[in-house]
């Protein structure tokens, strides 16, 4: 058939588009967003995503509190943030419209499920009149679509009851948007087949709804043309889409393989870290042991036991769990055993914003234990970088026999991006040998084992695991004598041990990459220093500055304790230093304290990542000022 090409405009090419799906938390918006993202990735777009959902599993239906959304930014060039403002909002009910309308700029498109805009829902959302009809949305390109009734009609054949059939309306929306943006339908259909294959009625209903949405876009006169986002020009290589939490899990499995150790992962369910447990518990064929502990303290206790017994021991949590684990982390510092703690940061204090992102645990990671209890801190800068951060955390833990904190956050954990994954054959070997021989000649001429006799270079102590004949030893949280490890309360010994523990961590600076500044123009006077998930927004902001023919240098730190050895020198090269953070200035405080540099702040604590425009504005202010 050729008439369709004659009667429809060819797809309109866009270089980038930001789409936000918003609905009630029971409407399946996260699922629709995930599928759209996956199809876009297969198509070869670069992308970044931002899920946003309420902490309550089921907030009252139809209310603003119950609105769940998923934003995806797709483009034909490499992108680094989920986008600032949506070009298209899909609103499944009045509350979803109300909660998101403020983020739209005039000219943006809105597709609204008009069936849901009836009196009760309008009242629940606080509308006095129907915004789809009262002209209040005139500045937007509004398309009301009766998605619920069309879905019920389309799914009649499936045998689903009307009430159940209506639940497939998210697939109708997915079909519609897939048509608008020329997404390939095959991956989505294949996914529906796989996911719902066991339930014929649900499968048929969802598939029918998806197709109906797709065809609705194609046949209705509602849309003059489709949008097409061309594949992005990413560096050559093989790619897949990956979220931060899955990347952490893969990074840990890779670390276990490269360390030649089984992974023992113990954690207690907590948002937004639980997906790491879910992912790892699937991979028992890699020898990964997962323990869902009775509480946060038990989780790290199990990990400490696993480390003593010779496993790659890991626990993960979010801020409230880090608080609870503090005493046990101090024990691990004292025992000098390898342990990785992953903190998927969320808004705090206390329960705070469980499903929203924040970077306010840096000083907790740095100082959140009694006594002098230093440990290395690594931070992931993007969803796929969570793989590298977890791997690096394991490497440092094993090499230096120390607990390591790996910081990610809710945005990285649930966000996703294309990942040019590594060739597993070139991953470095991070294995450390267990000690199997006595290491000290006693005064009486017999060979002894001293558990705290350190490696001269790394200051790491020997790792002799139970079952090794002749090396029986006891370790504990009480201060121990340098060398022998025996309980010791002498003043000079405690001071020596305190310095040794600090020095061991400080020496890691020589074993991590130097700070590398991105300054393409070479004449920037402003250096923007970020850490963790601000990477994308800072890059996007800097790109905008450079597009204005101005210069800015950027540096994203992945190692926060110790800092890269050259950091002080790097900071000193710039007239101004700006530190954007999703907290009230924790890294800037550390930089000021460590390097006496006037690190200026840009802070945001809204539970949402920075927008490129916010970074850009602050950069402009400092460049002009």
């Amino acid at each position: 058939m050729t008439d369709s090409t004659e009667t429809h405009d060819p797809p309109h090419a866009l270089e980038r588009v930001v789409i936000r799906f918003a609905g009630d938390s029971g409407d399946g918006m996260q699922l629709v967003g995930d599928r759209f993202t996956d199809a876009s990735a297969v198509f070869g777009n670069d992308l970044a995503t931002l899920p946003n959902y309420p902490a309550e599993i089921r907030a009252p239906a139809g209310t603003i509190a119950g609105v769940s959304s998923f934003q995806v930014h797709i483009a034909d060039y490499d992108i680094v943030t989920p986008g600032d403002v949506p070009n298209l909002l899909v609103a499944m009910n009045p509350a979803a419209l109300k909660a998101n309308i403020g983020d739209l700029v005039p000219g943006a498109a809105i597709i609204a499920n008009s069936d849901a805009f009836e009196t009760r829902n309008l009242e629940k959302a606080g509308y006095e009149s129907n915004p789809l009809e009262d002209g209040s949305l005139d500045e937007f390109r509004l398309s009301p679509v009766p998605m619920t009734s069309l879905t019920i009609e389309a799914t009649k054949e499936s045998g689903a009851k009307p009430r159940d059939a209506a639940r497939s309306k998210n697939f109708f929306a997915l079909g519609l948007i897939s048509w608008m943006y020329s997404r390939p339908v095959e991956p989505i259909i294949a996914w529906i087949d796989e996911r719902f294959g066991k339930s014929q009625i649900v499968h048929d209903a969802n598939l029918a709804a998806f197709k109906a949405g797709f065809h609705f876009g194609e046949t209705t006169e509602l849309f003059g043309h489709a949008y097409e986002v061309h594949p992005a020009q990413l560096p050559p290589g093989r790619y897949r889409n990956i979220s931060g939490n899955v990347a952490v899990a893969y990074g840990l499995i890779a670390a276990g393989r490269q360390a030649k150790l089984p992974v023992l992962y113990a954690s207690y369910p907590i948002t937004p870290a639980s997906d790491i447990l879910h992912e790892l518990s699937k991979h028992k064929n890699f020898g990964v042991r997962t323990v869902q502990a009775e509480d946060e303290i038990a989780a790290i206790g199990v990990a400490i036991g696993g480390a003593f017994a010779g496993h790659l021991a890991v626990t993960a949590t979010s801020g409230p769990g880090v608080d609870l684990k503090a005493e046990a982390l101090g024990l691990a510092v004292s025992l000098e055993l390898p342990l990785v703690l992953i903190d998927v940061q969320r808004g705090g204090p206390s329960t705070g914003l469980p499903t929203k992102t924040e970077q306010a645990d840096l000083l907790l990671a740095m100082y959140g234990r009694h006594g002098e209890a230093p440990l290395p801190i690594v931070a992931a800068i993007s969803p796929s970088d969570c793989f590298d951060a977890a791997f690096e955390g394991a490497r440092l833990a094993l090499e230096y026999r120390t607990p390591v904190i790996v910081l990610t956050d809710g945005y990285l954990a649930n966000g996703s991006e294309p990942w040019r994954f590594p060739d597993v054959d070139v991953l470095p070997d991070i294995s450390v040998p267990f000690t199997t021989e006595a290491n000290h000649l006693g005064a009486d001429g017999t060979l002894e084992f001293w558990p705290y006799l350190r490696d001269e270079q790394t200051l790491a102590r020997p790792w002799a695991i139970p079952g090794t004949p002749g090396l029986m030893h006891r370790i504990g949280g009480i201060e121990k004598q340098d060398g022998t490890g025996n309980v010791n309360y002498e003043p000079e010994n405690h001071e020596r041990m305190t310095h040794l523990r600090a020095e061991k961590i400080a020496r890691i600076a020589a074993d991590i990459p130097p700070a590398v500044v991105d300054d393409p123009d070479g004449d920037a006077r402003l250096l923007v220093v970020g850490w963790g998930s601000t990477h994308g927004a800072i890059q996007a902001g800097a790109r905008r500055i450079r597009a204005r023919a101005m210069s800015v240098a950027t540096l994203q730190l992945t190692h926060l304790n110790p800092f890269p050895a050259n950091l002080g020198e790097v900071l000193g090269r710039y007239a101004k230093v700006l530190v954007p953070e999703m907290n009230l200035g924790q890294l800037s405080r550390l930089l000021r304290a460590e390097f006496l540099v006037d690190a200026q702040r840009l802070n945001k604590v809204q539970g949402l990542p920075f927008r490129a425009a916010e970074i850009e504005a602050k950069m402009l202010e400092l460049i002009d000022g």
């Binding site: 990735a41 297969v42 070869g44 990413l234 050559p236 290589g237 093989r238 790619y239 897949r240 889409n241 893969y250 499995i253 890779a254 393989r257 089984p262 023992l264 113990a266 991979h283 028992k284 064929n285 890699f286 020898g287 990964v288 042991r289 502990a293 009775e294 303290i297 038990a298 989780a299 790290i300 206790g301 199990v302 990990a303 400490i304 036991g305 696993g306 480390a307 003593f308 017994a309 496993h311 021991a313 005493e327 046990a328 024990l331 994954f421 590594p422 597993v424 695991i465 139970p466 079952g467 002749g470 029986m472 030893h473 006891r474 370790i475 504990g476 949280g477 009480i478 025996n486 309980v487």
Partner: protein
């Protein structure tokens, strides 16, 4: 062969000076276990002792084995990690009434219900010794201590009842005045597959001296300790004139054998899977000042947590072959950019 060299107590004693107060009941427990170890035929390098905080938690330092003196209350969690990682090891938990039942209560009950292969020895002296004499979760109501000058208001736990309620598969009680009894109970606990819990009545001669004197004193034992023997009617007393029967409410009660006849007595069955009768026995003495059962209350088989973890790993590897990292990373939709 080295393995066949007979080990002695010395092989299980570390070179560290034992620092408990002179006269502490902990010494007799340490001696009992160090003497028992060679008889169990175990190697020191395969034994791991994990403790929390408290006087008894210094125990691992005195054993020439592997050991961790961890933090307050958390020993069962640390021990669980060791057991899950290494089923080839024997893992012992040394704890006290404050450590296991107060700050560590959560880990204690969960280790028991999971049935992790651990041997848990709880030194119950009904007092906080290391912090110099506050009432503990097993102290009697009304106890006058430094932190309760007008008498403690806290109702105590009965550790055996608690362990049974927490689904423990092996529950026993012994006391520090009888080495042979301790060793017999420790041996059975060691041999049990799964979480084995032993409450040890232990005298703190500094802060709670004589807490168990009423029942463990040499001249009191015959009348006050009810020794449980599997398959035998439960009888005690100098002339074995008293016995235990279960009344129509399911409660255990003490009766004169002459009045009820031996056939009316409860025949102890430690392998009875239902813990109801064992629980009833644990309630016989509300406090250790009246006739109190000692010995093995319950010993039943249930799959161990660590064993099941290994079984799942093995099954996954059988079903899907050992993990292939490349295949894992490349799972899902992969595309190529050229």
């Amino acid at each position: 062969m080295a393995d066949e060299v007979t080990l002695t107590r010395k092989d299980f004693a570390s070179d560290q000076e034992v620092r408990w107060c002179p006269g502490c009941g902990d010494y007799s427990v340490l001696t009992a276990l160090q003497l028992l170890m060679p008889e169990l035929g175990v190697r020191p390098e395969n034994q791991v002792f994990v403790s929390g905080i408290g006087c008894s938690s210094r125990f691992p330092y005195y054993m020439n084995t592997y050991g961790i003196h961890s933090i307050h209350g958390r020993a069962p969690a640390v021990a669980t990690g060791i057991a899950v990682a290494r089923p080839d090891l024997d893992v012992w938990v040394i704890t006290g009434d404050g450590d296991a039942l107060s700050i560590g209560g959560n880990h204690f009950i969960h280790a028991l219900r999971r049935n992790v292969n651990l041997t848990i020895l709880l030194f119950n002296n009904q007092i906080y010794g290391l912090t110099k004499g506050q009432y503990s979760p097993t102290s009697e109501v009304g106890k006058v201590t430094k932190s309760s000058p007008f008498g403690s208001l806290d109702h105590p736990f009965n550790p055996v009842s608690l362990a049974l309620a927490a689904e423990a598969t092996f529950v026993a009680r012994t006391h520090d005045m009888d080495r042979k009894h301790m060793q017999a109970v420790f041996r059975r606990a060691y041999e049990h597959r799964g979480a084995a819990f032993v409450e040890i009545y232990q005298n703190c001669n500094v802060f709670n001296d004589g807490a168990f004197e009423e029942i463990t004193g040499k001249d009191k034992r015959a009348d006050m300790l009810i020794e449980l023997h599997h398959g035998e009617p439960i009888r005690f007393g100098a002339e074995r004139e008293l016995g235990v029967r279960v009344n129509r409410y399911g409660e255990a009660e003490i009766v004169p054998v002459a009045e009820v006849g031996e056939s009316a007595l409860l025949v102890h069955d430690e392998h009875r899977y239902d813990p109801t009768v064992a629980f009833a026995l644990s309630r016989l003495a509300e406090h250790p000042v009246s006739p109190t059962p000692v010995g093995i209350f319950r010993s039943v088989e249930r799959p161990t947590y660590d064993g099941e973890v290994q079984a799942q790993l093995a099954a996954a590897q059988d079903r899907r072959s050992p993990g292939d990292l490349r295949a894992l990373i490349e799972s899902g939709s992969v595309w190529e950019v050229v």
